[in-house]
């Protein structure tokens, strides 16, 4: 690995990433940002329409916030992802059909990934090797509680 200081950053980032639902939080935050981008209506008109117009901005902002909180406070990920998925679905009604569906999709997928994430899992093993291991375990230790 050439370039020692830069070579140190990558493993550090990987370790940071391994400790949190990285893709879930990132996708949720990106979804919120995408919806906000499609919304660029002049605030004047939004304020004219009132409460409902403001909700169009509020929901994607909450999505963005939930995505960032999933990343930086992963212990509370269940709460954030539940709020995230509900708000993502809500943007269909309030914000340009959920940023023309793209942001809604990103938000829902991100929330599901964050919800399904568990810390401290064993390294991934291919199915074939897992089956072989199970067979071997059965023959090696026949009586296991």
């Amino acid at each position: 690995m050439p370039g020692r200081p830069r070579g140190n950053l990558r493993p550090a980032f990987r370790r940071w990433r391994a400790g949190r639902p990285f893709w879930g939080g990132l996708l949720l935050a990106l979804g919120g940002a995408e919806i906000l981008l499609t919304l660029k209506a002049s605030l004047d008109v939004i304020l004219h329409v009132g409460m409902q117009g403001l909700a169009g901005y509020l929901l994607p902002a909450v999505m963005l916030l939930c995505g960032l909180l999933v990343l930086f406070n992963p212990t509370q990920r269940l709460f954030y992802s539940v709020i995230g998925v509900l708000v993502s679905l809500g943007t269909w009604l309030t914000s340009n059909l959920g940023g023309f569906f793209v942001g809604l999709l990103l938000g829902v997928v991100g929330s599901c990934l964050a919800f399904g994430w568990l810390p401290d899992q064993e390294p991934r093993v291919s199915r074939r090797r897992r089956r072989k291991a199970a067979r071997a375990a059965k023959t090696a230790i026949p009586a296991q509680p």
Partner: protein, 223 residues
């Protein structure tokens, strides 16, 4: 490789990740079944929302802008109509600003209750157009508190009880939303009927927009 080392029933306690390589051995992972617990209901709700919107049972709200977009409809009928001039400001440093200084002179039209037939809305994304069509069947598109900031408006119009030349701050026929700044020319009417409507808009917002027969897609040509 030895079977005894690999198949110990329990993992050793403590910091299992001995960090041999640059990736720790034990790390967080998405469990598919756990994710599905949320994904399945979410997908069902999303599909339900889409179907309800396409049937016109559920209203959605639009607030798009930054780029001019075109709205056409074969027929627009509305009650409570107000129209006045206004100045729209783009976001700071917007690439669409050009030599206008980021300001666009627009005509703001407010319609309290509107029904539209064969609505078509398209945004030019450079090369391709995002096109939304609705209300092509027997059911019509309905909108409440429809506010549009347009630079061009054409069609065959008919108004009922029209008042032209009011001060924009004194308008009352389109409710509290249909009121403009002081000292600006404006007009209002009880009802409005426009055939072959064509608008170039910079912003549309609506309290509730019901879109029966919704079709959303990309197309080479706009409306």
């Amino acid at each position: 490789m030895t079977s005894s080392a690999e198949h110990t029933p329990e993992r050793p306690e403590g910091p299992a990740a001995t960090d041999v390589g640059d990736v720790p051995a034990r790390r967080g992972r998405v469990r598919a079944r756990r994710a599905a617990v949320m994904a399945v209901p979410a997908a069902a709700v999303a599909a339900g929302l889409a179907i309800l919107t396409a049937e016109g049972a559920l209203g959605v709200q639009f607030a798009i802008s930054g780029m001019p977009f075109t709205v056409t409809a074969t027929e627009l009928n509305g009650t409570g109509f107000a129209q006045f001039g206004a100045l729209d400001e783009m976001a700071e440093g917007s690439p669409n600003a050009g030599d206008t200084g980021g300001q666009v002179l627009v005509v703001t039209s407010v319609i309290k209750n509107a029904t539209l037939t064969k609505l078509c809305q398209s945004v030019d994304l450079g090369g391709t157009n995002l096109v939304i069509r609705a209300g092509e069947g027997s059911q019509k598109v309905t909108a409440s508190d429809l506010t549009t900031d347009s630079t061009q408006l054409s069609g065959d119009a008919a108004f009922n009880n029209i008042e032209i030349g009011n001060d924009a701050s004194t308008l009352d026929k389109a409710g509290p939303l249909g009121r403009g700044p002081k000292g600006v020319f404006s007009q209002q009417s009880d009802t409005v009927h426009i055939a072959n409507l064509r608008q170039t808009n910079y912003a549309t917002t609506a309290g509730v927009f019901k879109l029966p027969g919704l079709k959303l897609g990309f197309s080479g040509s706009g409306c």
